[in-house]
Subunit: 355 residues, 2 copies
């Protein structure tokens, strides 16, 4: 945030001129990078601090009767609402089901809250709702309660959807960045960057020869297969806002360890690589919606990979790196040409409104 602020004076509260950029919400506060982190650390965490609040992970694990319940939420504001490979409806169902699975929980129930803009074509809403129905079937979750609000034209943007999800934890592992250990192998379930570039290309009307399709999918299925097989998972994370790089940096920081990854082992579709080069993006930072990393001990890695590759959603799964003791809180990439590069959180908004 510091960088972005250099040009702007810090106006104290007594100064009656228009607020500086530092005093207002910027697009980058929603980008999943440094400014999102800062917003969480400065505003949300101090207010909501409690033993269950989980700001370093995709959801919270909660006591419920004798059992253990996972809860998560995401709002979806993707633009365009419909894009190659999915739409805001499938995204809202898969995204939240995937987040539950990343906490090691079986997704059970979803709520759906709609904020519709006046004038939205009813046919668009119908398409999105049908897509949610099919996605819920695929992800084996039930949409059990909902709410609809309508805002005047110009006060929203077509459809925003919030889904919250409840799942059941059926094992005794603590799946969390803090459980990551030195020596763990980093598994990646598939190729990266497809969702972000599919949405970007659709939004900008870019006519690539082979249109890029979002990878939007219920990878919860894959994660549950690993759990059901008794793989001792230390941490899982789906690679949404901020992509693979951001997920790894956040995990390295929370785990207080180092992660070394090999760029050659990270699959990127040719069309995605091409679009990234044309548009100036780094595929490692581009969002996915059907792709995750899993941290497992070396002894479990081969078994876990075999399970992942056995599922169509995990065909390209591979080991991309390893956890080491030092340098702490850092992610080091060995590039295709053999040099090393330190990965960090992005300062600004890379791709706005991709989920």
């Amino acid at each position: 945030m510091k960088e972005a602020m250099t040009d702007f004076p810090d106006n104290g509260p007594a100064c009656p001129i228009s607020p500086s950029r530092k005093d207002t919400i910027q697009l980058a506060h929603g980008g999943g990078g440094k400014m999102t982190r800062q917003l969480i650390d400065e505003i949300f965490r101090p207010a909501f601090e409690n033993s269950e609040l989980e700001t370093d992970h995709d959801g919270a694990i909660l006591e419920f009767d004798q059992g253990s319940l996972a809860m998560t939420t995401d709002s979806y504001v993707v633009q365009p609402i419909i894009f190659p490979g999915g739409d805001i409806g499938s995204l809202a169902v898969y995204g939240t089901a995937n987040d539950l699975a990343m906490c090691g929980a079986r997704p059970l129930y979803l709520s759906a809250g709609f904020i519709l803009e006046e004038g939205l074509p009813m046919a668009t809403l119908q398409t999105v709702v049908n897509s949610m129905k099919e996605a819920a079937r695929q992800a084996e979750v039930r949409i059990v309660t909902g709410d609809t609000k309508v805002v005047p034209k110009g006060k929203g943007d077509g459809i925003f959807i919030n889904t919250a999800g409840v799942g059941r934890r059926e094992h005794s592992f603590t799946i969390h960045p803090e459980s990551v250990r030195s020596g763990d192998v980093v598994l990646l379930s598939g190729d990266v960057g497809r969702h972000g570039m599919a949405v970007m290309a659709a939004r900008e009307g870019l006519g690539f020869e082979n249109p890029i399709k979002s990878d939007c999918a219920p990878v919860s299925r894959l994660a549950l297969k690993l759990l059901d097989a008794g793989i001792e998972l230390h941490c899982m994370r789906d690679l949404t806002r901020g992509g693979l790089a951001t997920a790894l940096v956040e995990i390295a920081e929370t785990a207080d360890l180092s992660i070394r990854v090999d760029e050659k082992a990270i699959p990127v579709q040719e069309s995605v690589q091409g679009a990234c080069e044309i548009l100036g993006f780094d595929p490692l930072y581009v969002a996915n919606e059907g792709c995750f990393v899993a941290f497992v001990s070396e002894g479990d890695a081969d078994n876990a990979l075999a399970i992942m590759r056995d599922d169509p959603l995990g065909r390209q799964a591979g080991a991309i790196g390893r956890v080491e003791r030092s340098p702490r809180k850092s992610v080091i990439l060995t590039t295709r040409i053999g040099s090393t590069r330190l990965l960090d959180l992005l300062s600004g908004e890379q791709l706005p409104r991709i989920c």
Copy 2:
């Protein structure tokens, strides 16, 4: 909806002119009246139909391990964000906690999803978040997981908040409109119309001599006291969008019974009554955020009333009517002057964006 549509041709999908009002979302689809009902019946219910989906009640009761879990969600789009007696933050916490209690569940955990508009003053967000913290303390719920999205200026309206809530059902009653029986007494916890008129007056900048304060409060507390005392509750409903009249009509329709209520027994603050008269609203249809109805058998009514009146939030509680066999699916009001009036759902949007 039929009435509102009479002037507009029904353009089939092949007709390439701009969509008619029937084919697009209107503000009234979010008003809690007939058009909201139609949207649910025509779009949401067919897609999400499953044994748990609950469209006639404030939340869903779900199996979880051996226990029984309640889940609910609401998005909040109130304008202005801060109003006399509360703000969008306290509303988002109390509203969802209250909905859980209306299902007969003890509120435990909330998720919070923020959709922020670029340029929102950070101080406003801080105020709202602090207010959520205090409201969570009052309602005895914990905010355990969250999400923040930012949309560009002009694509949102300051702050939208979604809260989803999870609660535990600790009793064996089926608290639902279908459990209402002929002979049940209708209890009302407090005076009606305050929240809607407080927001309306703030939005329109109306300078009433005594500014109306919203009744925004954790009435979940009151509902739980009734449950803890073993009162056999047949149905509860908080009187949000559409107010007391809409809640009663919906319950009468689902229960397939008649509800007779006495206008003289329904408390309305003098300032609220005055504002309603000036602005042309009927307080029976104006939203509340700290007020609910409870349906109990005659034998339990006095005991229930005593418990409610013993709590500051229920000081004005009273019996306002009774359930009868016929005429089915109808609500009959005995007015102050002794005549009778049939209450129905409103066709359009009465007060937009009051929650």
